[in-house]
């Protein structure tokens, strides 16, 4: 399906260390951040997917990702590199990056 990354311009990964995992509030922060980029952005729990649209709050929340999971990001578009860097930073900051950053 063309909506999945076939040859993404940027990929990155990091461990999810947030206690409680990717629950409601972290999912919202992640989705809001992903939506700031024009690139298509995906999140996956392995480097080969399956990939989930990181801009969809319903789908990101539905992953119910527990703590100590590796998160993989892939992006495709002009600001793809910035997008994956920002998302990794958000996760590594334990979601303390304010939404006003």
């Amino acid at each position: 399906m063309s909506q999945y990354p076939i040859a993404p311009l940027a990929t990155s990964s990091t461990a999810l260390t947030h206690e409680g995992g990717l629950h409601a509030r972290p999912s919202i922060m992640l989705t809001q951040l992903a939506n700031r980029f024009s690139a298509k952005v995906w999140i996956g729990l392995s480097d080969s997917g399956p990939w989930t649209d990181a801009k969809s709050i319903a789908r990101v929340m539905a992953l119910k990702t527990p703590c100590h999971t590796m998160l993989f990001f892939a992006a495709e578009g002009n600001d793809a590199g910035d997008a994956v860097i920002a998302l990794v930073r958000l996760v590594q900051s334990d979601f303390t990056n304010s939404r006003d950053q």
Binding site: I28, T31, Q32, N35, S56, I57, A58, A62, R99
Partner: protein, 131 residues
Amino acid sequence: MNRNVGIVIVSHSPDVAKGAADMVRQMVGKEVPLAWCGGNPDGGLGTSVDAIEKALQTAWSDRGVVIMVDMGGAETNSEMAIERLPDKKRAKVVVCNAPIVEGSVMAATESSGGSPLEKVRRAAEELYPRM
């Protein structure tokens, strides 16, 4: 003019409506125009067309407004409140078919990124197919 789609939360219970609105404010933020109403004019459970009309004014955005409802009269009264709007505004209001709490948070998350009305509605309804 607000650049984000507004959200109106309509429940039979003012506590439920206010609670859902609190969740939106605390989890999503303040970038989204938001209003809630619930209860009938006598202080009991119910919904009121007048109150919904007022809430629509409070949360109004030229990008549109989504209304989140709990059940029955909340939906029909919301539709009556929409009917009272001038033609131009009427086309910019939709009632979402989604659970009131989860749908409100998801709609607000989508709206906070500047998404258009139809996308905000889809975000709220995404995991809940029409019954």
